[in-house]
C-alpha cells in the first residue's frame, strides 16, 4: 500500500469510527468515500464490504439485528484501519 493511500485511509477511518459510535448519518457518505480511496489496496475488500453494509437501512437502530449490522461494520472498519496503520508504520510502498 502506498503511504499516501494508507494515510488517507487512516484519517478517513478514524472519523468513521467516531461517527459510528455517535450513530451519525455522516458515517455512510464517509465510508463510501473511504471505499473509493481504498480501491486496489490490500484492504479494499474490507472497506467495500463495510460501505455496502452501511447502505442498508437501519444501521443505527437499537434492534438486535441492527446492532449486529453496526458491529460488523465497526469490525470491518477497525480491520481496515489497522491494515492501513501497519502499512504506514512499515513504510510499505
Amino acid at each position: 500500500m502506498r503511504r499516501t493511500d494508507a494515510l488517507r485511509l487512516v484519517a478517513a477511518l478514524g472519523a468513521i469510527e467516531m461517527a459510528l459510535v455517535r450513530r451519525d448519518d455522516v458515517a455512510g457518505p464517509l465510508l463510501a468515500q473511504a471505499a473509493r480511496a481504498a480501491a486496489a489496496t490490500p484492504v479494499d475488500t474490507w472497506v467495500a464490504e463495510a460501505a455496502r453494509l452501511m447502505r442498508a437501512p437501519g444501521c443505527f437502530g437499537d434492534a438486535p439485528h441492527e446492532m449486529a449490522r453496526r458491529s460488523a461494520v465497526q469490525a470491518l472498519c477497525r480491520a481496515s484501519a489497522q491494515g492501513a496503520q501497519a502499512a504506514l508504520l512499515t513504510g510499505t510502498e
Partner: protein, 277 residues
C-alpha cells in the same frame, strides 16, 4: 456459527451473508500472522450495558473456542444497578464463570464511591480473582483517596486491577503514576494500551514494575512502542472482537520484531502471571 462476535442468525436477519462475512473475518485474523499457541483474554464483559451491548457467557466461550482462547477474565458491563454497587451484575458474572469453569475468570467491578468494600468481600468469597475500575463510566479520578483505598484492598488479597485507560477527557499519566506509587505491590493493567493518554503514560509508567497494558481496542502505534513483557492480550468483547484483536497484536509483533517467546508472553504468559492459569 458466530462472526465478528455476532450470531449468524442475527446477521442473517440483518440481511448479511454470515458465510461470506466469516471468510473476510478469517482473512482479517490471518493478516496478523500470529502463530498458534496458548491464548488468554484479560478483558471481556458479560451481562447487559446501559448502552444496549450485551454478551452471554456461553456466547463468549463460543467465540473463544473459534479463535483458540482457553481463558478469559470477565467482568460486568456498565450496569451498576439501583444502589450503584454492581451487586447484581457482579453476581451474574460470578455465576456465569462458575457455569463455564475453568474457562472464565471472574473479576469484580466496583464504583469506588459506592459500596466497594462489601462488593469486594462478596466477590472474594465467591471466587473472583481481580478488580475492574472504569474512571469514565463511574466518574472518578484514578488518584482519588477512595480509589487508592480500593486498589489497596485488591492488592492486599492478591488481585490485579484492570483500569479503563481509553476514551476520556482527563489526562491519565500523573494520576495513574500517583496511584501506582501510592499502592506498592499493586498490579495495574491499563486497558486499551492506555490510548487515552498513550505517550505520556508510556513515558511515565512503561517501566514501572506494577504497570501492565492490555491490547484491547488499542492503537497499533502505541502497542509497537510498549514493551511486550508488559502487554496482555485483551478483546474488550462485546465492543471488540477476536479477529481484529489478533490482527492488531500480530501486526504489532511483526512491526516491533517481537520474538516467539515475547509473542507467547503477550498472548498467554503475562495473563498467567497476573491472573493465574
Amino acid at each position: 456459527m458466530r462472526v465478528f462476535g455476532e450470531s449468524a442468525s442475527r446477521l442473517a436477519e440483518a440481511g448479511i451473508d454470515p458465510a461470506a462475512l466469516a471468510e473476510i473475518e478469517d482473512a482479517v485474523a490471518r493478516s496478523g500472522g500470529l502463530p498458534d499457541g496458548p491464548r488468554a483474554d484479560v478483558h471481556a464483559h458479560l451481562g447487559r450495558d446501559r448502552d444496549g451491548h450485551a454478551l452471554a457467557a456461553e456466547d463468549l466461550v463460543g467465540d473463544m473456542d473459534r479463535w483458540g482462547f482457553g481463558l478469559a477474565a470477565v467482568f460486568a458491563l456498565n450496569d451498576a444497578g439501583a444502589r450503584g454497587d454492581f451487586a447484581e451484575a457482579n453476581a451474574l458474572v460470578r455465576a456465569s464463570a462458575a457455569r463455564c469453569a475453568p474457562r472464565l475468570v471472574p473479576f469484580c467491578r466496583v464504583d469506588p464511591n459506592a459500596g466497594w468494600a462489601s462488593a469486594i468481600d462478596r466477590a472474594e468469597s465467591g471466587g473472583a480473582r481481580g478488580l475492574k475500575l472504569h474512571p469514565v463510566a463511574q466518574r472518578f479520578a484514578p488518584d482519588a483517596d477512595a480509589v487508592i483505598e480500593c486498589v489497596g484492598r485488591a492488592t492486599a488479597i492478591g488481585w490485579p486491577v484492570l483500569i479503563h485507560a481509553g476514551f476520556g477527557a482527563r489526562a491519565l499519566a500523573a494520576p495513574l503514576a500517583h496511584l501506582a506509587d501510592a499502592v506498592p505491590g499493586a498490579c495495574l493493567i491499563l486497558a486499551h494500551g492506555a490510548r487515552g493518554d498513550a505517550r505520556a503514560v508510556r513515558d511515565a509508567l512503561a517501566g514501572h514494575p506494577g504497570v501492565w497494558f492490555d491490547t484491547s481496542l488499542a492503537v497499533l502505534a502505541d502497542l509497537v512502542e510498549l514493551p511486550p513483557e508488559r502487554l496482555v492480550f485483551g478483546s474488550d468483547r462485546p465492543y471488540g472482537d477476536y479477529a481484529t484483536g489478533l490482527q492488531l497484536v500480530g501486526c504489532a509483533a511483526r512491526i516491533a520484531g517481537w520474538s516467539p517467546s515475547q509473542i507467547e508472553a503477550v498472548m498467554y504468559g503475562n495473563f498467567a502471571t497476573l491472573v493465574g492459569a
